[in-house]
Symmetry: C2
Subunit: 209 residues, 2 copies
């Protein structure tokens, strides 16, 4: 997480597992820096279609989508008991006018979120189910590594349905693919516990034919 942001954290807020940090349509007020725990974000459109749009862990920033319209566009749900730093947006605005560094960090955070979504679009639009799942696992692994956790041995906090929604496939397909990867000795999966046995082969799978 951008360090300059830290100063903005006026308060901490705890969110119970399963509870919402904010919900789609709520008036926008603050950005949130995840201190600990795990979140998913999801959209709903007017026709009731919904989709998980991302997973967020310590150091990630939530709520950026609400700036434009004055309302949160997404719902952020805690997938385990979590703590966030509350950064009131008016304060962010004011301080970033005084501090070019902070300004740049905010812009960078917004821009990086855009870039992240390009990646998801690429994944959804141009990859097969197995490539998507492999990419997903590798991405999780990388993010755990960066935070000092084991990149090859971790807990999934989300359900198969969450993963499926995020990756644009059904939960059955997620389950089948997990089983397949396990049979091939590439990963070991028991419930939500994942152990990456052969990350190289996983990388190979994630690549185009």
């Amino acid at each position: 997480m951008p360090s300059t942001f830290e100063k903005l954290a006026s308060t901490l807020r705890h969110v119970r597992s399963g509870g919402p940090l904010f919900s789609s349509g709520d008036p926008f007020g603050s950005l949130y820096g995840v201190h600990g725990g795990f979140f998913k974000t999801s959209t709903v459109d007017g026709d009731g279609r919904w989709q998980v749009t991302g997973f967020f862990m310590a150091g990630d920033l939530l709520g950026l989508d609400g700036i434009g319209s004055g309302r949160y566009q997404l719902t952020a749900t805690a997938l385990e008991d979590s703590v966030v730093a509350v950064m009131p947006y008016p304060l962010v605005e004011t301080l970033s006018r005084e501090s070019p560094d902070l300004q740049r960090e905010l812009h960078a955070a917004l821009s990086r979120e855009i870039a992240r979504e390009h990646g998801v679009m690429l994944l959804l639009g141009s990859m097969h189910a197995e490539q998507r799942l492999a990419t997903f696992l590798l991405n999780l692994s990388l993010r755990f590594r960066r935070r000092g956790y084991s990149p090859s041995d971790f807990q999934l906090r989300m359900t198969r349905a969450d993963i499926g929604s995020y990756l644009g496939m059904t939960l059955e397909t997620v389950s089948r693919l997990f089983s397949r990867l396990q049979h091939e000795g590439i990963v070991e999966i028991r419930q939500r516990h994942v152990r990456l046995i052969d990350a190289d082969r996983l990388r190979a799978i994630s690549e185009p034919a």
Copy 2:
């Protein structure tokens, strides 16, 4: 387009049809406001996978994805002879520190781009090919309407392959679906000229089962 931005437009730049406004990897320098013409943006990832990530017309803002990393992440290609307003980013930074209005507009633009991409993710992740194409046509129609052009009678500037890439399907599927919609009397399509005959049925198609 946000009106306050207009003041930032130091110069205009012309881009010939088929030419790049900027390319993935170029050092980031400016944001671009489309004055006239039509652009597509596309990504490439390390493995050579690529995808069209958006279409941009008069009033839209290009280049936002470059702020975070100092390099443009996308390639922006003109699909017809086009004109853009060049807004040097250092200038944007400076002025938006002096003007809360401008600051808010910039943040809003970034945030809206994030929200737009959520919509694309929803489209790619949870809709069938026919729903995607119907949604795409309706979206184009809406954007032409907002700009004072006919919402029911317009030219596509992009190829079937561009559309297919953007919508996560093959160009053959795009072509077949166009034919189907035409047979059903919902649209009339001759080459790149589109006439929406029955927007209500198109809307019905775009909705979930």
